[in-house]
Symmetry: C6
Subunit: 220 residues, 6 copies
C-alpha cells in the first residue's frame, strides 16, 4: 500500500527520488534554517558523495543569493540543517543534488514548494543539471506517491521512452539542464509568495509519450 | 525481577524503549542543560544513527523554540548533554528520536515529564514521527516497568493488534504523527508548570484492543 | 606483596577499584585543576566508555556546582586533567564513574578525600549510581591495600553475600544510589575543610554480614 | 556520441583532461569564489593527491596575487570552492593541477576562460609544469569534445609523436613549463577583459606534426 | 662503538633510557619553548602512551609552576615542542615520563641539565614516579654512553641487584618516588643558574652494591 | 637521460636527495611564505615521519629566528607551505630534514640558495644533523643532476669510502653535525644578499678520497 504525498505546499520540504536495490523510492528532504553562525549539518546517514552534493548546492546558492531573493550573508548568520528521513537507511549518490538545492533555496527564501512535484538530478557548482540513473524505477515511485510533475535532467530525456505507460500518462516531465528550471517548476511563484523572482515563471512540461528518444543505460 | 520506574515527575528525564536481541528494554534518557556556548555532548555509547537523531531533535527544538516556551538563543548560551545509561552498552537506531526530543524540550523549558509515560519513534527535522520496529517487545518492557502510557508512531497503530493482551489491558497507547502530540502527552501541562504552552492539552489515548489493524512487519 | 594505600588525605586523589582478567586491582584516579579555558584532558589509556563516564561526571558537577561549593564558571576558567596511572595499561568500562566524579569534585572544591575509602560504580548524568560487576574481586583488592570503607552501588548490595569473609570482616560497605552518598562518605566534612556543604554528613555504613541478599550475576 | 564543449567563454570554468581505465575523458573544473573567511572546499570525490594539487595551486596564486591582478587578501576574505563533476566518480592524481590553478585564477581575477582550450599538467608550488601520462588518450578526448588548443607540459613534447594523426591535425598544442604560459593561453587577454595583465600575450602554439621527438613512457 | 654523551650542560636536553628488542638505548629528549599560544607539539614517532605521558608531565608542571620558578601563564603564552630523535624509529611506553618532565621544566625555567645524568620512570599527574622495566639493559646503555648518575624509580630499587657489576661500579643510582628528587638530581642548582628553587639541593645517591634487594620482574 | 639542475640561485628552493627502491633521486623542495596566520601546509604525499621532520625544522627556525635574520613573529603572521613534487609519489623518512629547514630559512630570510648544492640529513629540534642511509645512491643522483657540493651528516663521513670514484672526483662533500654548517654552505652569503648573518661564512669542504673511513651500514 503506497504512501501518498501530503497535499500541502511547505517551505523547506522537497520530494526527491532514490533508486535502491529493491526499486525506486520517494524520499523527502527536509531543511531547517536556524539563527546561527554558518554551520552546515547533514543527517540521515548520508554518504560522502551525497554530502558533497549538499555542499555544492549550498555554494551555488551562496553565489546566486541575490537573484534568488536570499539574504547574501546567510552563510555566516544562519545554520543550515539538511535531514533525510528515514535515519537508519544509508543514502548516497549525487542524484539528490537538485532536490537538496531546491529545499535549501525554499527554506532560505521562504518560497513554498509544490507538494506534487518530485525531482532527480545531479547539480554542479554552477547550477548545471547532470544526468542520473534509474529513471524508470524513480518515476514509478513518484507515480505511486501521487506526484503530478517530475523534473528530470535534460540529458535523461531519451530515457523517457522506457517509462511505464501508466506512469507516463499520469505524470508530466520537466527536462532541466539548469537548476533555474528546477526552481521555477518546484517553487511557488513570486505572485503568490513574493519570494521567487518574477523571471521564474512556469517551465514547459512534456509528456513522456511526446518524446521518442533511443534507450540508453546511465548509471546513477 | 523487573525494575520499576520511580514515581516522580522529573525535568530532563524521559523513558525510552529499546529493542535488543534479547527483547525489549526500557532506557531512560537524561539531559542536562548547562551554562555554556552551544556545545552538544552525547554519551552512553550512542551509534551514528542515534547521534544524528539527537541533532535532528535539537534542530527541531531550535526551529520551534518560541512556541515551546524556550529561550531562542539557547543554542549559543547553553551546552546540552544527552546521556543514556548504561554506559557500557552500545545503543543505536533512530527510534529514540522522540524520546531525546522530549527530554531536551523538558530540560530547556523546565516542564517536568510524567514518570509513567514511555515512548518510541523516529523524529524528523520537521517534527514528524516515523514508524519503528519491535513494538511488541518494547511495550512488554514498558509494562514490566510500571508504565501507564506509551506514545507510539501513528504508522505503528496496526502493530497494536499484536501486543500481548495483558500488556494491552494495562497500557494506554497514544499514536502520534507529530512531535506535538508526544510533548502534550509527556510534559506536565502549562497550568501546573507554567512552562508548556496552553494549546498543549491532553491528546486522545486509545486502548490496543479498540484497534483491529492488519499485522505488518516493520524493521526498526 | 600488596601495595598499601598511603595514609594521607589528599585533594583530587581517589581510590578506584577495577576488575581485570587476573583479579581485582586498586587504581588511584588523579585530577589536576589548572588555570585554563575549559579544556578536559583524559590520560592513562582510557577507553571510550570510561571517557564518556568522565564527561558525564563533569557535566553532573557543572549542573550541581553551587550545592557542591564549586565556582560555577570553572567550565570556562579552568582546565581539568584526569589521569589514571599506570599509563601503559588500557582501562575501560563505566565503573570508575563515581571515582572520577569524586576526584573532580574534590579538586574543584578543595575538599580532601579520605585515604582509606575506595569506591566503584557507574554514574549517570543526574548523579544516579548504577550497579557494576566484579565486586568480590574488587573488594579483595581494596582489603589488600588497607582500605577501611568501600562505597558500592545500592543495586549491588545482594552481591555482598558473596564477599570473602575475611574481607567482609575488615571493610565497611556504604551502598549508594546517588552520588551524594558517595561524596559524603569520601570527602572530608565541611567542619574540617570548609569546602564540603554541611548537609553532607556521614552516610550509614553496613557490614556485609548484616545483609543476606540472593546471589546475582551482574556484568560490569 | 561525444559530448561537445559549449561554445561560451566563462569565468571559473576550465576544461581538464583525465585518463581513466577506459580511455581519456574531458572533465570541467568549476570554481566558485564566495564572500567568506578563507575556507577552501574541494568536492567531486577528489583523492588526496588531487586535493594537495589544489592547495599547491592556491598557494601559488597567493604568492603571485599582485601580478595576476588578484586582490592579495582573498585568502581571508573569500571562500574558494572547487568542484569537479561528475560527483560519484572518484578522481585522483596530480595532472589536474594546472587546470585547477587556471580555474581559480580566472574566478579570482574575473578573466574569462577560452571555451576551446583544454589542458593537463602537474603544477608545483612555484608554478612549474611537470609532465603527465596518458597524453594520447587525453588528446583524443579533447578532439571529440571539439577542443581547438591543448596545453601540455613541456616535458611531454616528445609524446606528441604518438598522437593520433586526425587529432594532431585538428588541435594546436602549447607546451608549457611554467603556469604563466598556461594562463596566457587559456585566459582572455587584458584588452578584452581588463583582468589579465598585459604581459600575458598569446603563447606560441605548435602542431604535433612539427615535432619529431622519441617515444617515452611516462606514468601519470 | 658506543656513542658518548657530549660533556655539556644544556637547557631543555635530557638523557632518557629506552628498552628495545635489541637491548637498552639512550635517547635524548629535546624541548623547545617558543613564543606562541599554548600549543603542544610532540614529534619523533611517539606512540599514544608516550604522548599521554608528555601531557601528564606538562600538566604537573602547570600545577607546580610557582615552586618550579616558572611563569605560571606559559600554558597560554608559549608553545612547547618535545622531540625525540631519531625520527624514523617508533617510540612508546610510559617510562620517558620523568625525562620529558625534566626537559620541559629545564626549558621553561632556564635551568641547565647535568649532561652526565640519565633517567627512567613513569610520571603521574601528581609527580609520583612509578616503576619501569628493563633496568638492566637501560643502565648498560647509560654506562656505554659515559653517564655517571642514573635516576630510577624507588620501586625499582630491588632490580639494582641484577645490574651488571661493571655498570654498578661506575654509576651512582638515585632512587626517586617523587619527581622533585629527579629534578634536584638533574637540574643545575639555583646557586649556579639562579633558576632552580633553593630547596632543590642534591639528592642522596646510592651504589647498586649497597642494596641487596630480591630480584623482581617488572614489565615496562 | 638525467635531468640537470637549472643553474639559477632561487629563494625557497633546495635540492634534496632521496633513496628509493630503484636508486637515488634528487628532489627539489619548494617553500612558499604567504601572508597569513601561522598555518603550516605540507603537500606532495609526505609521510608522517617526513611531516614531523618539517615541524621540527620549523620549530628550530622559530627558536633561532633572530640569529637567522628572520622576523621572530612569522609563526603568527605568515603561512608556510612546503611542497615536494612529484605529487603522486609517496615520500617519507627523516632525511629531508635539513633540506626542508634550509628551504624554509631561505624563504623566510630572503637568502637565495646555491643551485649547485644538494643535501641530506635528519634534523633535530636543536639543529643537530643525524646520519642517514643510502649515501652512495644519493650522491650518484646528485652527480647525474650536475650538483657540485653535497652536504652530508658528519656521522656519515665513513660512508664516503664507498662512493663511486667518478662521483667522488666531481663532488665536494661538506660534513655537518649542526644545521649552521648546512645553512652556511647552501645559502648565498650576507655580502651578496644582505640576508644571511655575517658569521655564516663558507664551511670547509672535503673530497671523498681524502677520508678513509671503515664501511658501515646505516639504515635511513
Ligand atoms: Ca521508506
Ligand atoms: Ca554528460
Ligand atoms: Ca539494563
Ligand atoms: Ca512511512
Ligand atoms: Ca598495578
Ligand atoms: Ca538497573
Ligand atoms: Ca563522463
Ligand atoms: Ca622530470
Ligand atoms: Ca640509535
Ligand atoms: Ca606499584
Ligand atoms: Ca622523478
Ligand atoms: Ca647516532
Amino acid at each position: 500500500r503506497p504512501e501518498m504525498v501530503e497535499p500541502k505546499n511547505e517551505i523547506g520540504l522537497v520530494n526527491g527520488l532514490a533508486w535502491t536495490s529493491v526499486g525506486g523510492e520517494m524520499l523527502q528532504i527536509e531543511v531547517a534554517i536556524l539563527d546561527g553562525s554558518g554551520k552546515v549539518e547533514l543527517t540521515g546517514q548520508l554518504g560522502d558523495v551525497m554530502k558533497e552534493s549538499a555542499h555544492a548546492a549550498i555554494s551555488y546558492i551562496r553565489s546566486r543569493a541575490a537573484s534568488l531573493h536570499i539574504e547574501p550573508d546567510f552563510y555566516k548568520t544562519k545554520d543550515i540543517h539538511i535531514h533525510i528521513p528515514e535515519g537508519a537507511i544509508p543514502k548516497d549518490g549525487p542524484s539528490a543534488g537538485v532536490t537538496m538545492c531546491t529545499a535549501v533555496a525554499s527554506a532560505l527564501s521562504g518560497a513554498p514548494v509544490r507538494y506534487d512535484v518530485a525531482m532527480t538530478g545531479e547539480i554542479t557548482l554552477r547550477g548545471r543539471v547532470l544526468p542520473i540513473g534509474g529513471l524508470k524505477e524513480k518515476t514509478m515511485a513518484a507515480y505511486r506517491a501521487g506526484i503530478k510533475t517530475v523534473v528530470i535532467p535534460k540529458e535523461n530525456e531519451p530515457d523517457l521512452a522506457e517509462i511505464d505507460p501508466v506512469v507516463a500518462s499520469h505524470i508530466q516531465f520537466v527536462p532541466a539542464d539548469q537548476i533555474d528550471t528546477v526552481l521555477k517548476t518546484a517553487l511557488i511563484s513570486a505572485y503568490e509568495s513574493r519570494c521567487v523572482p518574477p523571471e521564474l515563471a512556469a517551465a514547459p512540461r512534456v509528456k513522456a509519450g511526446e518524446i521518442s528518444a533511443p534507450q540508453e543505460a546511465i548509471t546513477q
